[in-house]
């Protein structure tokens, strides 16, 4: 019983962190599908969301709902502005230039928050006051329950949005073929901005959940989850929305189980080792499409 319970607990932990990774991975995958670039700064949008929540709660003393809204709005604006200012001028530039710019933006966000908030971690109480539930001998913390519910809602509504709405089909069309979509009367620039907006909003939700979990803020808090979420996106097949969800959850489970049963120090190495393996064996990921490169 004891071992089984332990495994189950680790499993739920993994599900929690995995669903946060999935939320972030969705942003990577959507942006990659449409703009064909890795938005390295995506991880740092999580950090922006977390700090925006902190500013709303502890400095402006807003109620929790308004603080969450503030964080969402700030992140969305950041996402769209970053795209407009840094990535749009480079749309026809070589991929290397775009990648370096994205790294620059990521660094910029980190250093600006370092300048404003300092390097010492800021404690931030969780906004989830729900105590958690007990099933048999198994106790699940409140934040875990909330995280699972919120991410499920986000994923369902995102899938609905992409599949059923007009803007969603515009996004799919642009991802398929930018030129043809433009000829069909789709505003490509607007669609790309929308993608960045949605991705950043999801990242802000992930940031809020992350802060509620770890209850401390520092300028580099988004870097690690960001990179791991990218691994998740690649694992699931970059460009594929269901793939990002699946990849995130698998990655969370692997990380939590290897932390518990193999080694805490090596868990990062294992996570990145998986990335290398996936790219070696099946570079298109679990659910990704294979695209042949033409001359």
């Amino acid at each position: 019983m004891g071992i089984l319970q332990n495994i189950l607990e680790q499993f739920i932990n993994g599900l929690r962190s995995g669903s946060i990774y999935a939320l972030i991975a969705l942003g990577y995958t959507m942006v990659y599908g449409i703009a064909k670039m890795i938005n390295f700064a995506h991880g740092d949008i999580i950090m922006v969301g977390a700090y925006a929540l902190y500013v709303g709660l502890s400095i402006l003393h807003l109620p929790a709902i308004l603080a969450i809204l503030l964080s969402l709005v700030v992140c969305t604006i950041f996402g769209v502005v970053i795209e407009r200012v840094a990535y749009k001028p480079l749309r026809s530039a070589p991929p290397l230039a775009v990648l370096i710019t994205a790294i620059g933006v990521s660094f910029l966000l980190q250093s600006v928050s370092l300048l404003i908030f300092g390097a010492t971690p800021i404690p931030q109480e969780s906004i989830v006051k729900f105590a958690g539930i007990k099933i048999g001998g198994l106790s699940i913390s409140g934040i875990t329950v909330v995280t699972l519910i919120v991410t499920t809602i986000c994923m369902i509504s995102l899938t609905w949005f992409i599949q059923k709405t007009k803007m969603g089909s515009a996004m799919r069309a642009v991802a398929e073929d930018k030129g043809a979509a433009e000829l069909m009367g789709i505003d490509v620039n607007k669609t790309i901005s929308l993608t960045f907006a949605i991705g950043s909003a999801l990242a802000s939700i992930a940031g809020i959940l992350y802060v509620c979990q770890y209850q401390s803020l520092k300028p580099t808090l988004g870097a690690m989850p960001g990179i791991k979420a990218f691994v998740a996106a690649v694992l699931g097949g970059i460009g594929s929305v269901p793939g990002a969800m699946l990849g995130g959850i698998i990655l969370g489970l692997i990380e939590s189980l290897s932390k518990a049963y193999i080694s805490t120090e090596l868990s990062d190495a294992i996570v990145f080792g998986i990335l290398v393996l996936v790219l070696l064996i099946k570079p298109s990921g679990l659910l990704g499409k294979i695209r042949k490169e033409k001359v």
Binding site: M37, I38, A86, P89, L90, S92, A93, P95, L96, A97, V98, L99, I100, T101, I103, G104, V105, S106, F107, L108, Q110, S111, V112, L114, L115, A223, I227, F230, V231, V234, S263, E265, L266, D268, A269, F272, G273, L275, V276, L279, L280, P283, E293, V295
Partner: protein, 323 residues
């Protein structure tokens, strides 16, 4: 005719190197440098080696690698372990450490280079980043590297007292990479950057040259790591993180990807400038970020084209050529 030109260039370069070296040695032995400047001599050399070697993969091969600090850390730890266990005089021990560090780092270059053969662009960048992190977390968990505590009391073979040594190594690195780039191999590497399908079509073994570029870059990064370890005297896994890789990348980007001279100049500036502006240290990262973004947008914007094709610029170029 062409040979003569190359000879002239070579003699000019050698003259510059000898003059620079003599000037620095004079300042060192005359004790004319402040402590601050003296402590900067070796880091400048280290950064030059790192930037020039990273330029080989990023500038000439055209693949972004984000794990250069990983290679550096492998070299640094290997070198430090060699000198700590060998107890021989410096003149024997240090070269062994350098070669061992370089070789082990280039072994890692092979290990990393082979999987990345199938990858290009974004994926490759991420995999090198992942490898950097893997190396860091393995060093963090190994006993021989003393885990998170790191190594300390490494013999200071690479400090300013042995500046001649380090300077010599730096010059060798620059010459080796420069010659390689101008050779048949280098042209093959550049052709992969410009159009890998075309390169493949004319019979260039893309995989071979890709791995070669990785291995050579890793070798020199390892040597830079050995010098670093023997200059500072202590090693910690956290020193060689992602930020360190980015720092080297900033040097390469600022100096101009594919320009060795640019890398050298940028490495000197970007090592000395932050020290001079110690009081504004928090702004260093901020500046790096701005440099990266601004350089990329400037490079692909209309402004650069206009400046390059403007009359004044063309005139300047002409007068320079005539002189």
């Amino acid at each position: 005719m062409k040979n003569k030109q190359i000879d002239k260039q070579l003699i000019k370069n050698l003259a510059i190197i000898v003059i620079v070296f003599a000037a620095i040695e004079f300042l060192l032995y005359g004790d004319l440098l402040t402590r601050q400047f003296r402590s900067l001599l070796i880091p400048v050399c280290i950064n030059v080696i790192l930037a020039v070697s990273l330029n080989l993969t990023t500038g000439f091969l055209g693949e972004l690698t984000l794990g250069h600090a990983g290679f550096m850390s492998v070299g640094a730890y290997t070198g430090a372990l060699v000198t700590m266990n060998l107890n021989l005089p410096m003149i024997i021990e240090f070269p062994i450490a350098l070669i061992a560090g370089g070789l082990v780092a280039s072994l890692f270059g092979v290990i990393i280079g082979v999987p990345v053969l199938r990858l290009r662009g974004d994926y490759l960048a991420i995999v090198t980043l992942a490898f950097g992190e893997i190396i860091k977390s393995i060093i963090n968990s190994l006993k021989i590297t003393n885990g998170a505590m790191g190594l300390s009391n490494i013999e200071l073979h690479g400090n300013y007292k042995n500046f001649g040594y380090v300077f010599f190594l730096t010059v060798i690195t620059i010459f080796a990479i420069k010659n390689m780039v101008n050779s048949r191999q280098g042209r093959a590497v550049c052709s992969i950057r410009d159009n890998y399908i075309a390169a493949e079509a004319v019979g260039i073994n893309v995989s071979k040259f890709k791995v070669m570029a990785f291995v050579v870059a890793a070798f020199f990064a390892g040597i830079a790591g050995v010098i670093y370890g023997h200059n500072v005297g202590t090693l910690k896994p956290t020193t060689f993180d992602y930020n360190k890789s980015i720092e080297i990348l900033v040097i390469v980007v600022l100096g101009g990807m594919g320009s060795i001279k640019g890398s050298v100049i940028a490495a000197i500036i970007l090592t000395i400038l932050p020290e001079m502006l110690r009081s504004a240290d928090e702004f260093r990262m901020f500046l790096y970020a701005v440099v990266l973004i601004a350089m990329m947008i400037f490079n692909s914007s209309q402004i650069k084209q206009r400046i390059l094709s403007s009359d004044i610029f063309l005139k300047l170029k002409k007068t320079k050529k005539e002189a």
